[in-house]
């Protein structure tokens, strides 16, 4: 029996096949999936902000850099091989726009950029980045196949 492991905001979870990982309602936040397909295990993080730099304590799983670091440590502890790790990400939307005002630094874009940079730093190839737009996403990830199912309210559903 496979179960669905739900990842909350500012949290991460790891899973082994046949379990699936899921996080709901990503807006400007990003869901980061990292997996070792040979061992059929991996993890998913739901990050909210780009960087822990300058933050005073608090929950490290809010930030792209610290959350990824913690999750990777756990995935490697489970026996995954660093060289086999691959990543897929989704989220980073800009949900609202005010007429006449263009935000200089959109938080969704900044999140996406930070996550991409952190993955590069850890030398993890990013296979899929379904980021941006102006709509929410709910994602399911299968660590065995690497399939990422992205569901939206009004922009369809796809598997990447």
């Amino acid at each position: 029996m496979s179960g669905i492991i739900t990842v909350g905001m500012a949290d991460y979870k790891t899973a082994k096949s046949p379990d699936l990982l899921m996080t709901a309602g990503l807006g400007s936040c990003i869901g980061i999936c990292v997996y070792d397909q040979a061992l059929k295990l991996g993890g998913m993080a739901h990050i909210m902000l780009p960087s822990s730099t300058g933050s005073q304590g608090g929950n490290p799983m809010k930030y792209a850099d610290t959350a990824l670091e913690l999750m990777l440590r756990q995935i490697l502890d489970m026996g995954a091989s660093q060289s086999r790790l691959k990543a897929k990400i989704a989220g980073g939307a800009q949900m609202f726009s005010f007429p006449g005002k263009t935000p200089v630094l959109k938080i969704g874009d900044r999140n996406a950029e930070a996550v991409e940079q952190e993955l590069k730093k850890h030398r993890i190839p990013l296979l899929v980045a379904d980021v941006g737009g102006s709509f929410g996403r709910t994602i399911h990830f299968d660590v065995a196949t690497g399939e990422l199912r992205i569901r939206t309210i009004n922009h369809g559903e796809k598997v990447v």
Partner: protein
């Protein structure tokens, strides 16, 4: 900042007065009775917002207004898509179903509802505190509630370990339910409480 019990009570009172005005405005607009819950003041980590809004990917119509003036903040009014549909029908006086995702008339009606609600809330708050506050042009989005709230709370790219906001439930028959959140920016709370001598 540390919030004392006395200040929490004052905030609840702000919520009471402001939301009372907002509920009355909605009631007048829709020509229906609208009930309001006792406002709750939350000081919680943002991650716990699921306790307040339920399932994060439930579609809701969200009107987001920025509060401008000496004590800025954010005001958010949201209702389940079905309720939003009922509100639009009540406004147009028809039972015609409209697609809230694409119908511009319906969308601008919802924005206007949000605008009226927030403005009445702010007028009450201004009278109560003596601090002049204005509402920005409203923005509307119909989408997953979690996605919309994360975008609002994280907009500036920072997030305190606890977020403080006032939350009121509005309900009316048939089938109207909504929720109103007022979220003061950093520093605004002190100003509002200070103006009230707290």
């Amino acid at each position: 900042m540390e919030v004392t019990q006395c200040q929490l009570d004052a905030l609840r009172e702000i919520g009471n007065i402001g939301s009372g005005h907002a509920a009355t405005a909605l009631s007048t607009l829709l020509q229906r009775r609208i009930d309001m819950s006792v406002p709750e003041v939350w000081a919680v980590p943002f991650e716990q917002i699921t306790a307040i809004v339920g399932q994060l990917d439930t579609p809701q119509a969200v009107v987001y207004v920025k509060v401008e003036g000496a004590a800025p903040g954010k005001a958010v009014f949201f209702f389940p898509v079905e309720s939003a549909g009922v509100v639009v029908q009540a406004l147009f006086g028809t039972s015609e179903e409209r697609d809230l995702f694409s119908d511009e008339m319906a969308q601008s009606a919802l924005k206007e509802v949000g605008n009226i609600l927030v403005s009445s809330f702010l007028i009450a708050l201004t009278e109560f505190s003596g601090i002049p506050l204005q509402a920005s042009v409203p923005a509307l989005s119909v989408d997953m509630i979690g996605a919309l709230l994360d975008a609002i709370f994280l907009e500036e790219g920072t997030l305190d370990d606890t977020v403080l906001f006032i939350d009121t439930q509005l309900s009316g028959l048939p089938k109207i339910e909504g929720q109103f959140i007022f979220l003061p920016d950093e520093g605004s709370l002190e100003k509002l409480l200070g103006a009230m001598g707290l």
